[in-house]
């Protein structure tokens, strides 16, 4: 909508923006568009929310049975080596 950066272009730059991979001048164009465009602000917020929700899938724990299998595999390996 300003400086030639359209909404359609902006949505393709969101990950570069969020990952800090946009050059400085591009960041300015990106942010000045965001400042006046509710649609793109919503889109960027939703991509952030997507990232946050995706992060909730993380589980650090290995199932006890799988852990035990791998530990016993380790013991077998240790005996043989």
């Amino acid at each position: 909508m300003t400086d030639g950066l359209t909404c359609q272009e902006l949505v393709e730059l969101v990950t570069d923006y969020l990952e800090g991979a946009l050059p400085g001048a591009e960041v300015e164009r990106f942010e000045s568009h965001l400042a006046i465009c509710p649609g793109c602000s919503t889109y960027v917020d939703q991509l952030r929310e997507t990232i946050r929700l995706t992060g909730r899938l993380r589980e650090d724990d290995l199932e006890p049975a799988a852990r035990e299998t791998l530990l016993s595999q380790f013991r077998t390996w240790k005996q043989r080596s």
Partner: protein, 206 residues
Amino acid sequence: MQLVQDESALVAALRSGDEAAFAQLLDAYGGAMRRLALGFVHNAAVADEVVQEAWLGVLRGIGRFEGRSSLKTWIFRILTNTAKTRAERESRSRPFSAFEEETGGGEPTVDPERFQNPIHPGGWTTFPEPWSAPEPQLLARETRSLIESAIDALPPAQRLVISLCDVEGWPAEEVCNVLELSESNQRVLLHRARAKVRASLEDYLT
């Protein structure tokens, strides 16, 4: 979980067959390894075998580990190589070496139909509708399984990249090292994956 202990001490302990050192690695990386393996082979039993085979590879190779990459990167490379080989053997799908194809050659991640604004070319026809927030507790489980299926439906490279970046929370550099991708390709894959997951949430949350 991150390992805080000095890596060379851990490597030495592992070489000497110290089970506590092995258990520590298992607790730090075991869950992520299994999920990553699942991203390749799509079958829980096969993923378990891949993980077992990868750990054996780690144990057999630890004597030769020279610390040119971090221990974590090295372990996960063994895992991805094992998983790739297995996935290619299990399926007739195209090999995983074709990662670059999935970067999509500049294809749009949002339907071009949505940018047919008559006054502002390339502007939203109608703005994306805000999502109902905060997410009600009852819906949390559904949201979760929705995201899981969306990730599962992604092409392999996109699936792996979003799993490591956004599920596991790894820094981009580590993801690139393990998957042997350039940072720019990694970002393209990540962006395409995120846009698809967002789109499936959009259908659900608006």
